[in-house]
């Protein structure tokens, strides 16, 4: 059984303008010790998915309407706030996009890590402090033990994210949820932080749910990839298979819209843009949510009338489309 399993999760926002179907039937699984990359553009619901798992959605206006979140055999949607506090930080660590807002600016780094260790592991002050220093060293902060008494603003963006990672792994959680962990960082620092996360995950055999808008970041770090569009998973597959043989027209379009660093013809050619933009999630299309932008959906097509189901095209490769790449080639042959 997978470590984390979402089944048909729906999280909606009840606003004055209407009900926003931010997460609308998401099913996914993160296996113990592996990394699942959840990728999609802004507003597709990937962060709301993460917050739902941690039960950190702002309620109201948001609420988990239906579906299950099973972590290590327990249904997180059924736990009380007290029980959840033991899960957060202890069994599931979280790394946020902006480490400056995740850290308390008025407390030293040491105080903040010590607090986590005392709360969850019941260490005494002295031992917690020693462990905090070790953790900072493990995430690659120079002169780690001296820096415990520094406030967050004394660290650069990359170093601050390392502190955030140290806090996330402090209690040896079995799962880390990283929501856009490198989006605020420069490209060389991003590479270092990704490499660090990957190394730590392997050493400690943690699982990771890596949420990002960046296809490159996913390709760097994920074992499996789930592509999200307009509140739904539209494709899920092992990373090598997804990047070499994308099936969903959206995944395909997203990959070809990316300029390629190694393309010698890039200056002369045009990029393959995706026309239009994602649908409004207050009143999403009843059928396929990508149909309006899909080059293969035709008027009167079944996918314009009713929603395509998520189906397994080949072992481990799931797609929610009436026109996956491999079937297109068949019908043209």
């Amino acid at each position: 059984m997978a470590l984390l399993e979402l089944s048909d999760l729906r999280a909606h926002f009840f606003t004055r303008e209407g009900v926003v179907h931010a997460v609308d039937g998401v099913s996914l699984a993160v296996e113990a010790g592996s990394t699942l990359g959840l990728v999609g553009e802004s507003g597709c619901g990937k962060s709301v998915t993460a917050l739902s798992i941690m039960r950190l959605l702002p309620t109201p206006p948001a609420r988990i309407v239906s579906g299950g979140i099973s972590f290590d055999g327990r249904d997180l949607t059924k736990l009380s706030e007290r029980e959840l506090e033991d899960v957060r930080g202890r069994e599931i660590g979280m790394v946020f996009q902006d480490p400056m807002t995740a850290l308390n600016p008025t407390l030293t780094i040491g105080t903040q890590i010590v607090e986590v260790l005392q709360r969850h592991l019941g260490l005494d002050r002295r031992r917690a402090r020693r462990r905090a220093g070790e953790l900072l060293a493990e995430v690659g902060i120079p002169r780690a033990h001296e820096r415990l008494d520094d406030y967050p603003h004394r660290f650069s963006g990359g170093m601050r994210q390392r502190v955030g990672i140290a806090m996330a792994i402090a209690c040896e959680p079995r799962l880390v949820i990283a929501d856009e962990p490198t989006t605020a960082l420069d490209v060389t620092v991003q590479a270092q932080v990704l490499d660090l996360l990957d190394d730590l995950r392997r050493e400690r055999q943690m699982a990771m749910l890596l949420i990002t808008h960046n296809m490159g970041v996913v390709a760097e770090s994920a074992d499996d990839v789930a592509v999200m569009y307009a509140g739904q998973i539209v494709e899920q597959a092992p990373a090598p298979d997804l990047f070499s043989r994308p099936e969903h027209p959206y995944t395909e379009a997203l990959l070809s819209a990316l300029p390629d660093l190694d393309d010698h013809e890039a200056r002369q050619s045009r990029l393959t843009a995706i026309p239009g933009r994602p649908p409004d999630l207050i009143d999403p299309p009843v059928a396929c949510r990508f149909a309006a932008r899909c080059p293969f959906a035709e008027r009167g097509d079944c996918c314009v009338l009713e929603p395509p189901a998520l189906r397994e095209l080949r072992p481990g490769h799931w797609v929610r489309s009436a026109h996956p790449t491999s079937e297109r080639h068949l019908s043209h042959a």
């Binding site: 553009e41 802004s42 420069d186 490209v187 060389t188 991003q190 590479a191 990704l194 490499d195 808008h213 960046n214 296809m215 490159g216 970041v217 996913v218 390709a219 760097e220 990373a239 090598p240 990047f243 070499s244 379009a253 997203l254 990959l255 819209a257 990316l258 300029p259 390629d260 660093l261 190694d262 393309d263 010698h264 890039a266 200056r267 045009r270 990029l271 393959t272 843009a273 995706i274 026309p275 933009r277």
Partner: protein
């Protein structure tokens, strides 16, 4: 041979660091731009890349004289800009426009789309109200924005549409040079491609010259003829795009290229190895 449209040499922008309350004094300088030089031929694009704080945007502002350079020369279309003031500078500025990164912050939320795009024409006293209205419609059409929305406000549009409004405004005065300062970094990938294609089309159709600033090296490659790599206020490398990307001359450029995450797991392992190999060079560059 025609001279380049823009020649920048030995450009310096230093900001004083002041201390003290009542009688403040200058205790040092931040050398944001420290001896930068480059040329751009008419109709071409120079891609200026570097990490945050490297001085890319400050360089652009100093070229446009939005910031007065501490020293150095900026020759545009045969004229030295650094000494110009008042009306002469205003006239030269018609030829040089800028497209900003954040289409939320760079459009006045209290002005309609029509007024935003007409403002440069109005500021320079060009045309009548009626002819300006016609120009606005033509400009919006040029950037692929439905001209029937001229009476709406910026917040009613998505980021991509807003960036089109910003581009239409930059085109209003028929400029020769457009500085694009991170024009797509706030946009999603699918929208980013639309805007990059638009900028390419406009360059081809109108013969525009671009100074294109971005931190995304793949985006810069798709746009640029020549590349300048900036680090700590200086150019560490410049040359034809093809050369910089395939045969980078400095370790800094090599490290920058190796750090870009590529959407291809098969190429990833080789790139990771390259990164580990270059790590000492990167940490040297950053501790400096």
């Amino acid at each position: 041979m025609t001279p380049p449209l823009l020649t920048v040499s030995d450009l310096m922008v230093h900001f004083p660091i002041r201390r003290g309350l009542l009688f403040d004094r200058t205790v040092g300088h931040v050398k944001a731009v420290d001896g930068v030089g480059f040329e751009i031929e008419e109709g071409q694009t120079l891609g200026l890349v570097g990490e945050s704080g490297s001085g890319k945007s400050t360089t652009a502002y100093a070229v446009l004289q939005l910031l007065r350079p501490t020293a150095g020369s900026v020759r545009f279309d045969g004229r030295e800009l650094t000494g110009l003031r008042g009306e002469t500078l205003r006239q030269m500025r018609r030829q040089m426009q800028i497209v900003f990164q954040d289409p939320h912050a760079s459009l006045n939320p209290r002005m309609t789309v029509g007024r935003i795009v007409a403002e440069p024409l109005q500021a320079h006293g060009i045309g009548t109200r009626r002819s300006r209205r016609a120009s606005v419609a033509r400009l919006l059409e040029l950037v692929g924005f439905d001209p029937s929305y001229t009476n709406r406000y910026p917040h009613e549009f998505s980021g991509g549409q807003r960036q089109r409004i910003g581009i239409a405004r930059a085109l209003a005065l028929n400029p020769k040079l457009i500085v694009c300062d991170e024009p797509v970094s706030a946009l999603d990938v699918s929208i980013q491609a639309q805007i990059l294609n638009l900028l390419k089309d406009l360059q081809r159709d109108l013969g525009l010259t671009y100074l294109f600033i971005a931190h995304d090296l793949a985006v810069v490659r798709a746009m640029s003829d020549t590349i300048a790599v900036m680090h700590d206020g200086r150019l560490v490398e410049q040359g034809p795009a093809e050369q910089v990307y395939t045969r980078p001359q400095t370790d800094y450029t090599r490290a920058l290229l190796a750090a870009v995450p590529v959407a291809d797991p098969e190429r990833m392992l080789a790139r990771k190895a390259e990164r580990r190999h270059l790590e000492p060079a990167v940490s040297r560059a950053f501790s400096a």
